[in-house]
Subunit: 132 residues, 3 copies
C-alpha cells in the first residue's frame, strides 16, 4: 500500500489527484491490473468526473451544498453531518483499470479527492493489484 | 482489458449489460475472482439494481430527474451538469464476485449502464482479476 | 467467496459489519491485498462511515428518508422504490485495502450494511484478492 497526503484549502473542494496516482503506477512498474484508491476519512470522498472544464466540479459541489445543507436538524454534535452524508453518497473509493502501464480513464475523466469538511491535511491510500 | 460498445436511444436510460459481462467471463474461462466494470464517460454511470420489474429502473431515473434537474443555475456551459452530478452520485464502476465461473449476483440483481446524456454510442471497460 | 448472514430489525438501519469482515481476513490468513464486500440485495447497500458516534448513521438515514420518500408517485407496485433508489445512491459494494493482515480503515471508519427495506435476513458476500 502506498499513502500520499494532500492539503485542502476550503471547507468544500475537489482536488485532481490523477497525476499523484499515475506516479505510483509508474514507480511500481505495473503494466496491467486494477488501481484501487481509498479515502480513509469519513467527511471526504473520491469520485471520477470531468477534468476539462473546472465548472463541472463547481456545479457538483454547489448541487451537493444546496441539497445536503450544512445546517439542518442533525443529531451529531460535531456539526459536520452534511459532510458525512456527502461522503456516503459519493463513496470512499474508486478503482481504475491499468493497461499498457497506463490508467484507463476516459478522455475527459480525472480522479478527484472530494473535501467536504476542510481545510485539513488528508491522506489517500493506493493499492495496485497486478495481473502479472 | 475488454471493451464493448452500446448505443443508447434516449437522454436518460438504464441498459442491462449483465449478459455482455457474463459473455466475457465465459470467454476468458475464469472460475473465481472479481469482475470489475468501468464506465469511461463523465455523463454516464454504472449501477446494480433490480432486473425483474423494469418499473424499478424507471422509478430511479424519474427520482434522479426530479431531484437533479436538467435546468438549474449551473455554470458549466455545455448544459449537461445534471448528467455529471448524477454520474458522481451513482458512480463510475461496479464490481461483482466470480465463483464457479459465474457472476455472484443476487437473485434480483442486474448490472446497468446508466445513460444520463444520450443518445450516444458508449463504451464499457471490463477487467477480470482471477484468483487462480 | 465467503458468505455471512445478518438479521435486520427495522425497515431502515445501519449495521456495523467491520468485525465480521475482519474475522474472515484472519481466518484466511491474508497479509496484503484487497477485501471486496458485496451486497446481493437490491433494497440494501454497503457504505463506510463514522463508527465513533452512532448519531452520524442516524443523520445519514434520516437525510435519506426525508429526501427519498417512502411514499411518492412511484410506478413499482411492490411499494419499496425508495429502498431501490437508496441502494443505487449508496452502492452495492465497498472495498478496503488489507496490509499487515489488517483492514486499512481510517481511525473513525466502520463498514456498514445499510438496510432500506427490512426487517429481513440478509446476506453479505466477501472475496479477498491476496497480493501474495
Amino acid at each position: 500500500m502506498e499513502i500520499f497526503s494532500l492539503s485542502t484549502k476550503k471547507r468544500e473542494e475537489f482536488i485532481d489527484i490523477t497525476a499523484a496516482v499515475s506516479t505510483i503506477i509508474k514507480k511500481q512498474r505495473v503494466s496491467s491490473g486494477i488501481c484501487f484508491i481509498f479515502c480513509p476519512h469519513t467527511t471526504a470522498a473520491l469520485t471520477i468526473n470531468e477534468n476539462a472544464d473546472p465548472s463541472v466540479c463547481r456545479d457538483i459541489l454547489q448541487y451537493l451544498n444546496t441539497r445536503i445543507p450544512f445546517r439542518e436538524d442533525y443529531s451529531h454534535l460535531e456539526g459536520n453531518s452534511d459532510a458525512h452524508i456527502k461522503a456516503s453518497c459519493i463513496g470512499s473509493s474508486v478503482s481504475v483499470i491499468i493497461d499498457t502501464s497506463t490508467l484507463q480513464l476516459g478522455t475527459w475523466q480525472g480522479i478527484y479527492f472530494c473535501e467536504f469538511d476542510g481545510p485539513r491535511t488528508r491522506k489517500v491510500y493506493v493499492e495496485i493489484m497486478s495481473k502479472e
